[in-house]
């Protein structure tokens, strides 16, 4: 027992020595990635964002990344711990961490908090969001071009506002290039992590004749690899998924967390941090598409890239009137665009989507 205590104390002392402050204190960042990091998807992109920070700032920053803590009470404890350790900035990669981040921001006025997916601002609490719907519109165009009979299917987890905006843009994109798009079928998984269920959902949509599947915020690449096996095209949010469906991958949205993160960190280092909303997309390189299928003709690809260019120069946005909901309401009149608030808090489905929402 005594030996053990001595080893423990020795090891601890050694650890303290090794982790003592360096010559010039780096900017300390605590980085919360909610789930395990896979080959693609949300946590994968967060990890790429972390990499982008490290590549850009080198040893000027010290990033302490933690993954797999979920977004419940345990993540809170980790964040508290980081804040207490003198972290300069917290980057929170899950919506569910918003309120705890807010509490910390109020308690430590010098701490800067960046939060993904929320809607609250304070002087030292800023919100980051990506315009996934922009790339989704482009994926929808690809889907519309590939769907000869106009049958599309979507696999999604829960009807959250961001999910709805992505789904709506997708369907608008498909309708814009193909007038024969049939009512789009949606399967809600009501589960975050059940690859077997994702796979079965993809199969059920394919059995209904869907020619293109959309894997919307997938927990796993299950839908994508199933599409490959079934021989139906697939489009995906967030990451290039070509490797999971080498022949049937049609188009992926590709998120880049780096640009916005680097900008906010630089602001904080320079003392110019503002607790604002960053809603970044195609314009500043935060959103793009990847892995366009060779099955699309050169002309079709050009048409998609032209839309991308219009989004970049600001002459086009997916949610422009007239937009009708699938319950028959007019959401936006001819000639008007939905503003960012309306996009972020979306709770309707556009005409042509065949599913219902709770409430």
């Amino acid at each position: 027992m005594k030996i053990w205590v001595r080893t423990l104390l020795g090891a601890t002392a050694l650890g303290l020595l090794l982790s003592g402050p360096a010559a010039s204190d780096p900017f300390k960042i605590g980085y919360i990635i909610p789930n395990a990091i896979g080959e693609a998807g949300w946590d994968h992109e967060l990890e790429r964002g972390r990499q982008a920070i490290v590549d850009h700032f080198g040893d000027k920053v010290q990033v302490n990344a933690v993954n797999g803590v979920g977004e419940g009470p345990d993540a809170t404890r980790v964040m508290n711990r980081m804040a207490a350790d003198g972290t300069n900035m917290l980057i929170l990669g899950a919506f569910g961490l918003m309120n705890d981040g807010l509490v910390l921001a109020r308690r430590y006025p010098d701490l800067k908090v960046l939060h993904y997916g929320g809607y609250v601002n304070e002087p030292n609490f800023a919100t980051l969001a990506l315009r996934h719907y922009e790339a989704s519109y482009l994926c929808g165009m690809a889907a519309g071009m590939a769907a000869k009979t106009g049958n599309l299917g979507v696999v999604a987890a829960f009807p959250l506002p961001e999910v709805l905006s992505i789904m709506n843009a997708y369907v608008l994109g498909a309708q814009s290039v193909n007038p024969d798009i049939k009512p789009v079928k949606v399967v809600w998984l009501n589960s975050w992590f059940d690859p077997a269920k994702e796979k079965a959902a993809a199969e059920s949509l394919a059995s209904q004749g869907a020619e293109v599947l959309y894997s919307l915020f997938p927990g796993t690449p299950s839908t994508v690899s199933t599409a490959e096996q079934l021989g139906v095209y697939v489009t995906v949010t967030l990451s290039d998924n070509t490797m999971f469906a080498p022949t049937k991958h049609l188009c992926s949205a590709q998120a880049e967390f780096g640009p916005a993160l680097i900008r906010k960190i630089q602001d904080a280092i320079d003392g110019k941090f503002v607790g604002d909303d960053t809603f970044s997309g195609v314009k500043d390189g935060s959103m793009g598409i990847a892995g366009l299928s060779p099955d699309l003709s050169e002309e079709q690809k050009k048409q998609i890239m032209a839309r991308l260019e219009e989004m970049r120069n600001g002459s086009f946005q997916p949610f422009r009137g007239p937009i009708m909901s699938n319950t028959g309401q007019e959401i936006a009149a001819e000639g008007t665009n939905l503003d960012d608030t309306a996009i972020k808090s979306m709770k309707f489905l556009v005409k042509g989507i065949d599913t219902t929402l709770p409430n």
Partner: protein, 363 residues
Amino acid sequence: MNIRQPFVLVPRQRQSRIALIAVPLVTISLTVIAAFFLFAGLGADPGIVLYTFFIEPLSSAYNLGEVLIKASPLILIAQGLAISFRAKVWNIGAEGQLIIGAICASLIPIYWSHSDSMLMLPGMILIGAAAGMVWAGIAALLRTRFNASEVIVTLMLTEIARQLLYFLVTGPLRDPMGYNFPQSVLFPSAALYPTFGGVGVRANLSIFITLAVTIICWVFVSKSFASFKLLVGGTTPAAARYAGFLPKQAVWISLLIGGAVAGLAGVGEIAGPIGKLQRIISPGYGFAAIIVAFLGGLNPIGIVFAGMLMAVVYVGGDNSLVTANIPASASVVFQGLLLVFYLATAVFARYEIRRAPPPLIPA
């Protein structure tokens, strides 16, 4: 087991004091040794990790507060479950009862979100406990009336409760001003347990509910309320369980008590550190409490220690993510090892090991 066993286990007539102290010590030593290799294998400094796991959680007011927040629901639920387990009623679904308790209690602050009525929190406590009882009562009804295994029913009801919560926070109960995000309005302060212990410490007065329940359980168990003990004390042989011989009152009382405390624990979460209804309100307290109940030997005082130990390990595990870069799953393995070693060593507290008597016929 072809060979004759050289040792036999004989139940102890009296509790062994040495075993009472030795069992936890041996358990922790074995866990520490195993964890040493585990963490070394992960490339972390085991000394630092073990310090983070066992010492640091007890080292500051903030960390102690965290341990209390975590221990309180575990102990609270475990006290209720222990009564049930002593009667051999297997309520495995406290997690679901916790969720339902939280959902129903949250209706008050969601519909009166600007009220500062003093009745708010007491009302939530009552409704939460009642809702937990109703949810557990379904299992009791099916068990007593139709003989359906409460293990399966409580388990399935947990999954249903979870789906219900997902549905409600993405639909009917979400904050209308919250940009349709899946969470309710923030509760007004009249709906929250007051915190204590200084700035930033999140420990709150719900601990006193845990304390009160613990004392009540302790009084019942140790001061020999004969009828009560007989009722739920488990004199019925488990052998007859599936045949339906378990006394109905025991099933009802066990499940209702378990449901009530789980519901209270649910209120403790939403009216405590969380302060609203959201998709995730418990990191599995209902399941962990089963283990706490057994780690504590189904004894009210033992449960307090077991709950504290579990909480220390949980908090230590979270801290080690930050300090030692240990993957989250490693701390789950650590908890698993702790429990397995405890269960293996606990045998020595209950049984004496004797050399087997020589065989009558020489082999």
